[in-house]
Amino acid sequence: MFEGKTLLGVGCSHVFAPLGEDINPETCHQRSWVKKLERLGNFKNSINLAQSGGSNQRSERVLMEYLESNNYNDLVVTFGLTDLSRFEIPQADKITGHLYNMKSIGPWCVSSEHTSDKRELSFMETLYGEFHSTNYETVMINRKMLYLNSFLNSLNIENYFIELHCHGGSIIPCQFGINLPLIHFKDEQGLAINAIRYTMIQGYTPDHTGHFDHDGHEFLAKLFYDQIKGIKDA
């Protein structure tokens, strides 16, 4: 279906595919549904830009950075949507002072295990405790997906958005008359669930870190392949 094309995956750990103690990018990529979807779809190759703890904000940034410096003519993008409450922040480089690194932030940061900096901890507690609205995050992610779809379509880059680790049903499939190429799932009662939950319901059990093995990723890849085929046929 995708001969000669390159598959690019962005998202969180459920795209990066760690398992147990294995966080090696190469072995994780071999395990990931991205690599398995590459084979199923007959892609030329695949690139995995995901990161454990990654936010949707990070996914957008690394995708843009990739497009800025790489040929995108034969690219197919799969955007694995993760927990909407995650984001990333710039943190000053302690050596240079003026450069910065991006730090992935999520609700897990409201814990002294993750920082010894009392101000940082206080900031996270206040942010998640008092100035965080899921309603607002949902509005913003819908807008973002709509924009990204418009942008990628304008560059003739085939793109798919997967409700992977966000709340199922977060994304409105049709906005302003545009049908988003959305890969989404429902449980037996017809309630929207994300791909991870769907996979668990089908009998695949994640390890103690919450991630799937080869078989789980193979199942995910097949799921995504079937829905992509359906979207393309439509």
């Binding site: 942010l127 100035f131 924009y147 418009s150 942008f151």
Partner: protein, 268 residues
């Protein structure tokens, strides 16, 4: 020139039309400022039938994008097509942002009397306009600390510029896809922040300002503030309260509107 029937403008107090006394946020007070704004004057030059000035004092770029999308949703619902629509986005200070505030959790940050319809996201949450000026305000103890920590620990100009550049690129392509005429300009003193972060293949429709000696601002000056002062207009010094924004009067806004009109009329 294709007739523009609807003009939508976005930005901060410089688009609202604020001058001298900083107005409150009631629609009535904003409406009084709108008469002075470049937005109203541009609508007259275009002979537009409808002008929607969605700007607000202290408005951020994320807010502008949010309220624009809400306006589009309310106005067009599922069929966003309008060849008579023109959108002009005045880019404001990139360090500003929006904070969701729940009045029952943190009372006092947004007084009810100042909460505008399009800054409420539901019955509980409203979007508060945050910027560097709030580092030293004391609306609510937790909020003040939150703002100080955000700017103190996790703020970086390059990062904010990059994020804003991407947001504008995305908005541009969304509007382009729908064949909506649109332009951006620097509405506050942030010159060409996007250049280092703009993908080479992207050409944003940006209205350039030049000083009186015809030098592009990207080389030696800033947004309409520098543009207008180089043409002899004086900034008003806001005194109640002292905002330091230094807004412009009717004549300066008229001059700005005419300049924008001259720049875009050939392309309409």
């Amino acid at each position: 020139m294709h007739k523009v029937k609807k003009l939508v403008t976005l930005g901060c107090s410089h688009t609202v039309g604020s001058y001298l006394d900083k107005p409150g946020d009631s629609w009535e007070e904003l409406a009084r400022c709108h008469d002075r704004s470049w937005s109203r004057k541009l609508a007259k030059l275009l002979d537009a039938e409808q002008e929607c000035n969605l700007a607000i004092n202290g408005g951020s770029n994320p807010r502008s994008i949010r309220v624009l999308m809400e306006w589009i949703n309310e106005t067009y619902n599922d069929k966003f097509e309008d060849s008579d629509l023109l959108i002009i986005f005045s880019i404001t200070e990139p360090m500003r942002f929006e904070v969701p505030v729940n009045a029952s959790l943190t009372p006092g940050i947004i007084p009810n009397s100042l909460s505008l319809g399009n800054d409420k996201i539901n019955n509980e949450w409203s979007m508060h306009r945050a910027g560097p000026w709030e580092i030293n305000t004391n609306r609510h103890a937790n909020y003040s600390e939150y703002i100080r920590n955000r700017y103190g620990l996790f703020s970086n100009d390059d990062h904010e510029y990059k994020k804003l550049s991407y947001d504008l690129v995305m908005l541009h392509y969304f509007l382009k896809l729908h064949n909506i005429k649109h332009y951006f300009f620097h509405g506050i003193d942030v010159p060409d922040f996007y250049k280092p972060f703009m993908p080479a293949f992207v050409k944003l429709p940006i209205i350039k300002f030049t000083t009186k000696d015809n030098i592009y601002f990207e080389t030696n000056a800033f947004g309409p503030g520098g543009f207008l002062t180089s043409h002899g207009f004086k900034r008003g010094l806001d005194i109640k309260p002292l905002s330091g924004c230094a807004h412009f009067d009717h004549d300066a806004n008229q001059f700005l509107a005419e300049h924008i009109y001259d720049k875009i009329k050939e392309e309409l």
